[in-house]
């Protein structure tokens, strides 16, 4: 599939001929109908609800169809504090979503545990178990921030390739689409993080 010359394309459009590629058409359709999974975990969910309501209106970006079933959802918005007791259910919901699927980690808690990071029952970030596409800082982030994350995700979808070495992950059969669900242990979740995908930040200094 060869890329179309931009000058030629705009010249053709001036003449009333609209030329596109399969990839552009496919991504255009996908990025304008991202259906989020309908669930919230804490106060961030209230901001998510506000984003869906008329004032901020996520429908402008094609994301208004909050699906109550993971089988029909494209996007998981992890909106709020993930407790260790809830984490296995989140991973299970993610596993039940069909590819292609995306995750927005919304707010300080979903990113790192936030103000509850040192707590005994709060997961220190959902990216210990599932891959996250967009992180939104904030406590809670404003609806504009969620819309910004949504647009970032649309940009990411738009840039995904259908073929070649750099094709999208969901088109690569060697990439996992399901991740192991942590088990309830006697003192902590087991494992405390998926060792294949999560590596705690390391600081390296020049001496």
């Amino acid at each position: 599939m060869s890329e179309i010359d931009e000058d030629l394309r705009s010249e053709l459009q001036r003449q009333g001929v609209w030329v596109t590629s399969m990839q552009d058409l496919y991504n255009w359709g996908r990025r304008n109908s991202i259906w989020p999974l309908q669930f919230g975990l804490a106060c961030c969910a209230i901001e998510m609800i506000a984003t869906a309501a008329s004032r901020y209106d996520i429908a402008r970006f094609g994301g208004e169809v909050f699906r109550p079933s993971p089988r029909q959802a494209d996007l998981m918005i992890v909106a709020g504090t993930v407790t260790k007791k809830m984490a296995p259910q989140i991973v299970r919901l993610y596993n039940q979503m069909p590819d292609p699927k995306y995750v927005i980690s919304m707010g300080a808690c979903a990113i790192s545990g936030g103000p509850f990071k040192q707590g005994y029952n709060v997961l220190k970030g959902i990216d210990r178990y599932i891959p996250v596409d967009v992180y939104i800082p904030g406590c809670p982030p404003r609806p504009e921030a969620l819309l910004h994350a949504f647009m970032e995700l649309q940009r990411k979808i738009d840039s995904q390739k259908l073929t070649g070495d750099t094709k999208a992950e969901h088109l690569d059969p060697s990439q996992p689409s399901e991740f192991p669900v942590p088990a309830f242990g006697e003192h902590d979740l087991e494992p405390a993080a998926n060792p294949d995908m999560f590596h705690p930040p390391k600081i390296e200094r020049q001496s």
Partner: protein, 223 residues
């Protein structure tokens, strides 16, 4: 209707519930909210009296909470008779006394009918060991059910006669009691840019000290 004094309540409890012993626990903090310590054997009967007595009618249990008291040493001055220079004298002597730790459940009772309260009652376990027991007041105050489960979950107090004593916040497989003062969480520290207090202590265990070059940080990653 104004609430009668705690001394009156204590006296009436001991008159109406045979065998019950009630201790008034003073509170020297600005709240100045003294409470009644019940003996575990008669606690349920006392609670029933507090609920049903026509002048008290404490029909609403608004809050149940747990407290963990560690073993502590109390310094006491005791007058001791000693023979000094062949003469018997009374001398002040400091002695350290070990007060064994216990777990406590605190109930706040109000009266909706008479619009008064709170009356604070407490119960104490014999010790802090695993399986420490208290009588459940859920049969008398239905609203205590979930909060007694929470105390069971976070402090490890077993409430006898509780209808459904299970963990409520942590998962069933969990064995520790996180709100106990000697609880140690799993060691899953990861780098934080500005550790302080307890987190700094954790950071020190995971990072070796390095000579302060810029004065900005005093911990660094292990090679």
């Amino acid at each position: 209707m104004t609430l009668e004094s705690l001394d009156d309540i204590k006296a009436r409890i001991e008159a109406f519930v045979p065998g019950a012993s009630v201790t008034i626990i003073p509170n020297s903090s600005p709240a100045n909210q003294p409470s009644l310590l019940l003996d575990n054997e008669h606690a349920a009967a006392v609670a029933k009296f507090l609920r049903d007595d026509p002048t008290l009618r404490l029909d609403y249990c608004s809050n149940v909470t747990g407290v963990d008291w560690l073993d502590r040493k109390v310094k006491k001055t005791i007058k001791v008779k000693k023979v000094i220079d062949g003469e018997e004298k009374e001398v002040d002597e400091m002695r350290e006394e070990l007060v064994p730790g216990y777990l406590e459940a605190v109930y706040h009772l109000f009266s909706i009918a008479h619009k008064h309260g709170p009356v604070v009652i407490r119960m104490r376990t014999a010790n802090r060991a695993e399986g420490a027991r208290l009588p459940s007041l859920t049969p008398i105050y239905r609203s205590a059910e979930f909060q007694e489960r929470e105390i069971f979950d976070l402090y490890g107090v077993h409430f006898e006669n509780h209808p459904d004593l299970r963990r409520i916040l942590m998962w069933d497989e969990f064995v520790d009691h996180p709100m106990r003062k000697d609880y140690r969480e799993p060691d899953d520290y990861e780098y934080e840019p500005t550790p302080h207090d307890d987190v700094l202590e954790k950071a020190k265990r995971h990072y070796t000290a390095r000579p302060q070059l810029d004065g900005a940080e005093n911990v660094t990653a292990q090679p």
